[in-house]
Amino acid sequence: MSKLIVEERNVVVPGEKLATGMEYLPGNGSFREGEDIYSSQLGLVNVSGRFVKVIPLTGKYNPREGDIIIGKITDVSFGMWLVDVGCAYFACLNVREVPEFIDKGADLSNYYDFNETVIAQVIKVVRSKDINLTLKGQGLRKIKGGKIIEVTPSKVPRIIGKQGSMISMVKEYTKCNIVVGQNGKIWIKGENVEDEVRATEIILKIENESHTHGLTDTIKKALEEGTKNGL
C-alpha cells in the first residue's frame, strides 16, 4: 500500500516522512529507509511521476548542467582555471573550453587571471562535485566593469520572471545591462552608477518580496516612480 504523506509544495524538514511504500522513489533531497521515503532537506516537496523530491530554497548553489553562472577565477593551474561559483567545490574551466586559441605552454593568466570574473555555462556535473564550465557560447565571456551583487540562488527564477519578463522590465527602466547567474550572482552595468544602484535596489526588492502577490505590478510601480522622480 503505497501512499504519499505530504502534498506538492508542502514545506518539509530533514527527517520528515514524505511517502510510504515501494511505488514511490526518492529523488533529490530525499532518501529511502525501509518502506518509507524521508526528506533530507529543508525545502518544498515536488512530486513528479513516481519521484518524490525536495527542492531546497536556502543554502549554497547546487549546479545543474546548462546553467549560466557568474564565477570568479580562484586559481590558474595546468591546462585549466579553477572558478569559484559559490557551491561546495570549485568548478573547472578547461583550456579547451575557452574561445581563444592558446598555445601549449602559454601563461594562462594572460588570458584569464586570478580574481577575474566570467560569465560561463555549466556543461557537466558529476555527483555535484566535478563541475565543468565552458566559455564557448553566446554571451559567455570575461566581464569588465559593472558590479556584482548576490542573491539567494533559489530566488533567481523570480528575478528572471516568466520568459525573462521581470528582468527585461528592470533592464528597460534602469537602462542597465544585467546578467543573472543561476548561482545567485548578478552582474549589473549601467551608463552611470545611479542606474546601477537603482537596478540593485530593485533586484533586492524582488528578492525580499518574492513571495508577495502581484510582484510584477509592485516592481513596475517602483520602477515607474523612480523614473518620475528623475532617478
Binding site: 514545506v11 518544498l44 543554502g59 549554497k60 561546495a88 518574492s210 508577495t212 510582484l215
Partner: protein, 236 residues
Amino acid sequence: MVYSKREDGRKFDELRKISAKVGIIKRADGSARFQIGDTIAIAAVYGPRELHPKFLQDPEKAVLRCNYDMASFSVTERKKPGPSRRSTEISLVTEKALASVVELDLFPNTAIDVFIQIIQANAGTRCAGICAAAMALAHAGIPMKDMVAAISVGKVGDKIVIDLDKEEEDFEEGATDIPVALTARNKEVTLLQLDGEVSKDELMQAIKLARKGCEEIHNVQIEALKEIYKEDKNGQ
C-alpha cells in the same frame, strides 16, 4: 535531600519557555538562534567549503567542525574570552551529537563549519547550542537524515527533573546533570554526559524524560524552520 518544589514554579517534567529563529546572520550559509529560559545560543554554518590545508581533507566525506564559545559577558562572573578545556570538550561532543545525521559522505574533501556562541547563560548551554546548530545546518541546506534536539535532565535532591536551571544545577544537597541529545525520528541518543550520582533506574527514567522534552523542542525547531518558507508558499 527532599526537593519538593521548583523555584520557578515549573513541574518536574516541564521545560522552560522556548523560542527559536532561523536566518539571523547574513554572511553565513545558515544560521539560527535558540532560547530556552534565560539561555540564548546563536549558531552559524559555513560550508560545505573547500578545506585547506589539504592534509586536513577526508577523501571519503566532509569534515564537520564545531566550535562552541561562551561570550565573556554571558555569565555572572566574567569568563575570560577564548577557548578553554571546557569549551574544547563541548565542541567535541557537539560534533559527535550532530555528525550521525549529517550526510557528510556527499561532500568529500570539504569542511562544514559550525560556530556556536552563547550570549546569555543560565544552564543547559551545550544543549541549546546543539539545538541552534541543528537548525542552522538545516537552514544551510545541508542534507541531513534527521534533526537533532538536546536537553539536560537530571536529579535535583530526590527528584528526576528536566531542563535544570542554574539554581538547580547548584542545588546545595546535590544535583546530577545529564545532557542528552536525541535524533527526532529514530530517537537515537547522540549526546550523553553525566556528572553526579544516579541509579540505573533513575538514569533510564531521566532519558525517557529527555525524550519527551526533545519532542517538544523538535516541534519548535520545525516551526522556526518552516517559518522562513511560509511566505514563499503563500505567494505561489
